[in-house]
Subunit: 291 residues, 4 copies
C-alpha cells in the first residue's frame, strides 16, 4: 500500500494529519462562530455503555462517598467529600484513536515499528499524548438527512454519498478540517436492546481516501468503527489501515451527532482534545461543536 | 454559611456556575482569537503522575500490543492493532471537580443530599456528566509574574494579589469567565523529586469569594487544590466548601500554566469539556487556551 | 429472627462457626486420609468465568510478558519474566463469603453494625481476614447421585433430602464439619451457553437450619448461592440471612463437586483457606478434598 | 545451564516438581498431624501491603456496603449485603510463582516458548491453573533460630546453613517435600517504616540446587524473592532461573514463618493451593501448616 503521509511532517513526526491545522485554520474556525451555541458530541460514559461481547465494559468505584458519612464517618472542619476510580477501556464510548492503535506490515504510521508498543513500555511512539488538540473547522456530513433516515446495518458509504452530503452544506473538505459523518447507527438503536457491533453503516476505502487526500485532520462518525461492517471480503479494518497508518489521520468514534444535526450545524468551530495519556492507544473525549 | 448560588438556576439545577456561560459569552470568547495558537494546559497522564501518599496512582495495561505480533499473533487481513485499559483515579493530573465532589452539612450544591452519592449508585446528583462544556473567556492571573517567581509552599493568595494580576492583563473577572491562577507550584517541582502535597501556594477564602461574586464560571490553578495548604487553623478545604458547594463553581486542578504565560496568554478563548462520566466526582480534562 | 450463634464465642468474635473446628476436629480429619488422592474443588478463574448480568467479570492484564522479549526487551543477566494484575470481583467463581457479606436489620453476625462496612474503611468487622482456615472433616452430600442426575433449575432441597444424602455415606453432620452439597447446577450447564443465574437448585431454610443446628463450620455447594433460586415468595436470600448472620456460618459457593463424587469422596479431610483480604466481603479459594 | 527437570514428567508437563507429590507423600504428610494446631502462613493482604517502588499495590473497592443502607438504600425482603472488587497484582504479599513467571534463553520450564506468554492470551503454558495443589510434608528450615536472630539485609544462605537448619529438626529434604526457609526478613521490618526491597537475606544458587536435587516440590521463604539480594555480580535472579525454569520448582514468597517457629513447627502437614487463575504468572495463597 502507499504510505501517503509518511515523512510529510518529518521522520520523527508522531502527530500525523492534525499537523494540518495551522494557526490560519484555527483563526478561520473561530470566525465561524455565529450563535454561540455549544453542542457536546459525546455519549454518556458509564458501566452501562455498550461494548462488543469480546470486550469488558467500564467499571466505576467510589472510594469515598455520602454513604460513608451516613454511616458515621468524621468530617473534620465540616468538610465532606467523595472520590472515585474508573477502570476504563480506552476504546469505549466516544473516543479518539491514537496513531499507534492500528497498523499493518509491522509498521505504524511514519514507519515506526509495531514492536515499540509493548506491555511494559506501552506505546513509545504515536501514543495519545502525541495527538495535538484538534481545534479547527468542523463539517457535518449528514448521510441520515441525505437518505431520509438512519442507514441499514451494513450500508457502505462511498465517496459520492459524502460529496452529496457536502453539497447540502455548501462546503468541501479541505486542509485541516474535521469531518464528522452521521450514519444514524447509534440513534437507530433501541433503548435497552443489546447493541450489535458486527454490522454498522460506515464509509468504504475509496471514501476514506478521498477525505484524506482532501487534507482532513480528523475523521469522526457516530458509529463504532468509522468504516462499514462487515468488511469487504478478504479485508479486515481496511479503512483503519489506510487512514491511521498510511495517512496519519486519527479517528473519532462513537460520536453523538443527531443533536448537532438538529441544531442546524453544518460548518462550525470544532474542538476535541485527547487526554495526554502517555503511550495510550486512544483517549475518551468530549468533542464540541460551537455554532 | 451562605449558599449564594442555591436556587439561582432553579431547584433542579446540577450544573452551577457554568450556567453563567450564555451564548453571548461564547461569541465574545470566540472573537478573542488573534493568532490562532492553541495551548494545551494539561499534564501528561501516566503511572508516573504524582499523587499524594494516601492515594493510588494510575495504572495502564495493554490488552493487545506489538509484542503479541512479535511473539507470533495472527494478523487476519493484514490488520494489526493495540488496545489498552486504564485504572484511573478521577482526581489525578489535570482534572475538573464535579459539584458532587465536596460538600458540608450533609448537603451538596443546591441542597441535594450528600447521601445521594453512594457506592451502588454513584452520584445521582451533580455528577461529572452534569457539567456543561466550558467554552468561554479565559483569564490568566499570573501571580508568578507578579511576584517574580513561583510562590513558596504555603503562600496564601488573597483578593488583592488577584486584583493586581488582573491589572497586569487589563481585565476584570466577569460573568461566565474561566479564571486560571498561576502559582508556580508545579513548575517549581524538581524533576524526579517526590512532590509534597501537604504544602502549596493557593487562594484564600476571601479571594475565592471575590471571584465567585464576580460571576466566574470556573476557577482553575496550577496547583493541587486551588486553595492554600496547610489550611487556616480550624478549617479543612474551606475554599472547596465555598466555591463548589455554596457557589456551584467547579474547580480545575493540576493545570500547566507556564507555557500559556510564555505564549503571552492573558485573555483568550478557553475550552474545557469534562468527560460525561455518569455519577463521577470529577473528570480528567485537557483544557485549551486559543490565543 | 433468632440469632443462634451471637455471643456464643464472645462478644468480640468475628469468626463464627469455624470456631467449632478445634484441634480434635483437625486431628480426626487428618486421620481420614486413606488413599492420598487430592481433589481440587475449584473452577478455573478467568475473564471467561460466568457472572450474572448485573455484575462485571474478572479482568486479567499482563504487565510484562514474552511478547516484550519478542519485541526486543532487554534481559539483564539473562533473566526474563512475566507479571500480571487481575481486576477481581470477590464473589466470582469458587469463593467463600465472609461474615460481613450478608445481613439484615442493620446488624451483622454477632451484633456488629452494618455501617462498619464502608467505602473508605471496607469491612471493619467480619472481613475475610477474620475467617480462620477451614481444616476439618468434609462430607459430600450428593443430591445428584440421590436423584439420579442434576436437579432442575428451581428445585428446593429440604432437610430430608440432605438426610438421605447423609445416609448414602453413612455419616451425620457434626461439630465443625464442612458440608458440601452437590446439586448438579454447574455440571448441567452447556459449554458455551449463557449461564442462567436466576434459577438454581439449592437448599431451603429448614435444611440450612438443620445443618447449622448440627454444628457445621461451613456449608458449600456447586451452585451460585447455596440456596434455591427463585426465593420463596416474600423472601430474599433467606438462607444467607440465617446461615451467615444468625449462625455465623460462612458459605462456599461455586464449587466443582463432580470430580469428588467420581473419586468416591464421601467423608474426607477438607481444607479451604480464605485469603486474608483485609476488610473484604469474600475471598476466592481453591478448596481441597484429601481422600 | 542444565535443565534438570525438562522432560522428566513428559514433554507436555506444565506442573513441574509438584509432580513429585504422589499419594504416598500425601498419606505420609497427613500422618504427621499430632496436636491439630493449624497455623496460617500468609500476610494480611490490603492496599497497605508493602510493594517495591516500581510496582503498584493492591486496590480494594466496595461496590455495595453498609454506607449505602445508612444512606437510604432499599432492603427488599430485609436482605442487606456488601460486595467488593480488588485490583490485585499477582506477586503481592504471600504468593506462589507459577512456572511461567521466570525464564531465560526464551524458553520456559520444559522447553515451552517464552512467546506463549502474551498480552492477549496470557500464559498459554505453565500458568497458575497448571500448579497442582501442594499437600505434602513441610519442613521449616529456621535460619533465624540457627543464627540467633533475623539475618542482615544481604546475607547469603548457603547449603551448609540449610543443612544445619535441617539438623535442628532431625529431617532431610526429600521427594515431594515443601521446604520453608525462615530468614527473618519480614519480622525484622519496623512497623510503619518503608520496606527495603533491594536487600534481603536469601539462599544462594548452590543451596537452591541442593534443595532441588533433593527432590523438593516447592521452596518457600519469608522474604520477597527466596534468593539473596543484591544478586551476585553479573547475575539477575539466578535462583529463579534455576529453580523455576530448570527444575520446575514453584516458589512461595512473602510467607509469615515466625508464628510457625513459635508453635514449634519443624516437620508437619503443609497445604497450599494456588487459585486456578488461567494463564496467570502467580497466585495469592494462604498456606497452612497443620501440626
Amino acid at each position: 500500500m502507499a504510505r501517503e503521509a509518511w515523512g510529510r511532517w518529518g521522520a520523527a513526526d508522531e502527530a500525523g494529519a492534525p499537523n494540518r491545522i495551522g494557526r490560519e485554520q484555527v483563526r478561520l474556525a473561530a470566525s465561524l462562530v455565529r450563535t454561540g451555541q455549544v453542542v457536546s458530541l459525546a455519549q454518556p460514559l458509564s458501566p452501562a455503555s455498550p461494548v462488543p461481547k469480546h470486550r469488558a465494559g467500564m467499571q466505576h468505584f467510589m472510594g469515598r462517598d455520602g454513604g460513608d458519612y451516613a454511616a458515621g464517618a468524621k468530617r473534620p472542619g465540616g468538610f465532606q467529600f467523595a472520590e472515585d476510580t474508573v477502570v476504563l477501556p480506552l476504546h469505549l464510548g466516544t473516543h479518539m484513536d491514537a496513531l499507534c492503535h492500528a497498523w499493518c506490515d509491522d509498521h505504524l504510521y511514519n514507519g515506526f515499528l509495531g514492536s515499540t508498543v509493548r506491555s511494559t513500555t506501552r506505546a513509545l511512539r504515536c501514543g495519545a499524548e502525541k495527538l495535538p488538540p484538534v481545534t479547527t473547522r468542523g463539517l457535518l456530513l449528514d448521510v441520515v438527512a441525505l437518505r431520509g433516515g438512519p442507514l441499514p446495518g451494513d450500508a457502505s458509504i462511498g465517496r459520492e454519498a459524502l460529496q452529496a452530503a457536502c453539497a447540502r452544506i455548501g462546503a468541501t473538505p479541505g486542509e485541516g478540517d474535521a469531518v464528522l459523518i452521521r450514519t444514524g447507527w447509534q440513534e437507530a438503536q433501541q433503548p435497552g436492546a443489546e447493541v450489535d457491533f458486527t454490522r454498522e453503516p460506515g464509509i468504504d476505502v475509496e471514501a476514506a481516501e478521498w477525505l484524506a487526500d482532501s487534507g482532513v485532520a480528523l475523521v469522526g462518525a457516530d458509529n463504532y468503527a468509522i468504516e462499514v461492517l462487515p468488511f469487504p471480503p478478504g479485508t479486515v479494518f481496511p479503512v483503519h489501515q489506510r487512514l491511521i497508518r498510511d495517512y496519519g489521520v486519527p479517528l473519532l468514534e462513537g460520536m453523538v451527532l443527531k443533536p448537532l444535526a438538529e441544531a442546524g450545524g453544518g460548518v462550525f468551530l470544532f474542538v476535541a482534545a485527547a487526554l495526554p495519556l502517555v503511550g495510550a492507544t486512544g483517549s475518551p473525549v468530549n468533542p464540541l461543536a460551537v455554532l
